[in-house]
């Protein structure tokens, strides 16, 4: 039997939802499993790091890595996977743009450690025990990976060939990506494997989006009953659709919830959050500072709203410490 192309899956700082989306292929997973050999998939099958190390360099056709990079161990694994794979695909928002874990870049590492090991109300730690990088135990040297100062996207650590966006990506995108890989007709390096247009183009409410939105107040989803026949922006609900890449077929909007931006920007935009801020603010109806601020009070957390999935890949990437 001729060798089937080898595929791997790996996870870093992620929730497991991306792995779930692989299983969500449902019957199609049989097609995928038939067409390829899955040689590495720690979440579902028993592979060890040494198994990967034993493979020839470049012997895996493609590895899909999900999750942001936060620890030294994830960096090592990412580099190992890069060596062993012809193609590395950043799978899901975290690997693509940092994802929700990268909102941690709003805080210095020390503050996070203090909270997690002492400050949090659910923590009981009278001895103030902290994780050690290295400790002698029964004359053995036991080590732990280091938590880095920044949450990074996959491409800030290793070279990445393609991106599959989404939190998580839809099974359709994964299936299409596998088919593209198998066809051998590869798109240019760096391509995000999802349509390069704004989500509004795929939205069923597209026709009800007013030319001039003119915001008088912003509502968060729990504050209003959303009319499921009209553009959410026209109802004053912040929908990231205009600044977000299409490809999910507007799933959240079909569920009567606004888009929160997990597919990231289109190729023409560098910083999704800044672009959304620009679009929203331009359409506020007030013209004086007080009136504008009153409308903007409806956005209590601009960083969490506009960079929910992409602080690590934004232009500033993190909070600047100690600038007063």
């Amino acid at each position: 039997m001729p060798d089937k192309p080898k595929i791997g899956f790996y996870w870093c700082a992620s929730c497991g939802g991306c792995e779930e989306s692989v299983v969500d292929l449902a019957e199609d997973i049989i097609m995928v499993a038939d067409a390829v050999d899955i040689v590495f998939w720690p979440v579902a099958m028993d592979f060890k790091r040494s198994d990967v190390e034993a493979m020839d360099d470049g012997s895996i056709l493609a590895t899909m890595v999900n999750g942001a990079i936060r620890t030294s161990e994830q960096e090592e694994m990412a580099r190992l996977i890069r060596r062993k794979s012809k193609i590395v695909i950043a799978y899901g928002s975290c690997a693509h743009m940092g994802g929700i874990p990268s909102l941690a870049n709003e805080f210095p590492r020390q503050q996070i450690m203090d909270f997690m090991y002492e400050g949090s109300p659910s923590v009981v730690n009278p001895d103030k025990t902290r994780p050690m990088l290295s400790v002698k135990h029964n004359s053995m040297n036991v080590t732990l990976p280091e938590i880095r100062n920044l949450v990074r996207t996959l491409d800030q650590v290793i070279d990445v060939d393609y991106y599959i966006p989404g939190c998580p990506p839809t099974p359709k995108l994964l299936k299409d990506a596998v088919l593209v890989l198998l066809s051998g007709k590869l798109p240019p390096k760096g391509t995000v494997l999802s349509p390069d247009e704004a989500l509004c183009e795929q939205c069923k409410h597209k026709d009800t989006k007013p030319v001039d939105v003119s915001f008088k107040q912003f509502y968060r989803p729990h504050m209003v009953i959303i009319d499921n026949t009209k553009c959410l922006l026209s109802q004053g609900v912040i929908c990231m659709g205009p600044a977000t890449r299409a490809g999910c077929e507007a799933l959240c909007i079909q569920g009567n919830m606004p888009c929160s931006g997990c597919f990231g920007p289109t190729s023409r935009v560098k910083d999704q959050g800044a672009k959304m801020l620009s679009s929203l603010c331009s359409n506020i109806s007030a013209k004086d500072e007080e009136g504008i601020d009153a409308v903007l009070d409806g956005i209590p957390d601009p960083v969490g709203t506009f960079y929910r999935y992409g602080l690590a890949s934004s232009l500033l990437r993190k909070k600047i410490p100690e600038d007063v």
Binding site: R130, M132, L133, K136, N149, L277, P302, F306, L316, I320
Partner: protein, 167 residues
């Protein structure tokens, strides 16, 4: 943050976006009138303050600017009728967002300067330079380089002695 020596010899870099019809003309007037002002601004002429995409501002900071100044026509005077209002609205939220990302409020400034106000160009720039000198360098690219040193690969055989994590 920088030590005092760096701070004393430091000249802030300001990226200024001036609209073609008012503020840029005012800066021209300041020049023609031989007004002296601090040489710390790099002026970029744009057709309207409403053309300033917040991405430009973030890009400026991310590329090493210590401050960003935007100059537009007074409210009601915009050549394109509404552009300066668009800038004002973005500015109000951007300022708040930058604050939560740790960038001091005084590093981003929006001023309405009409074509006849050459004197105001001078006073605004001088004042901003003074304020930025007090704040010290923002130095985003440098601080990022420093953090990224942790990405350097350490040889695997290196045996680490007992050490506390994240001290």
């Amino acid at each position: 943050m920088p030590d005092s020596e760096i701070k004393n010899n430091y000249e802030p870099k300001i990226v200024a976006f001036f609209c073609n019809w008012c503020t840029y003309t005012a800066a021209d007037l300041a020049g023609v009138s031989r007004l002296k002002y601090a040489p710390n601004v790099r002026v970029i002429r744009i057709m309207c303050s409403g053309r300033v995409d917040p991405q430009f501002i973030l890009q400026a900071f991310a590329s090493g600017a210590d401050g960003v100044l935007i100059g537009g026509c007074h409210p009601g005077d915009c050549h394109y009728s509404e552009g300066n209002y668009k800038m004002l609205r973005r500015f109000r939220l951007l300022k708040r967002m930058l604050k939560s990302l740790g960038i001091a409020e005084k590093r981003l400034r929006l001023e309405w300067i009409s074509a006849s106000e050459g004197e105001k160009v001078k006073s605004v720039i001088n004042e901003m330079v003074e304020q930025l000198k007090v704040l010290g360098p923002l130095a985003i690219p440098q601080s990022l380089d420093k953090i990224n040193e942790e990405l350097k690969e350490i040889p695997e055989e290196e045996i680490r002695e007992e050490e506390p994590a994240h001290a």
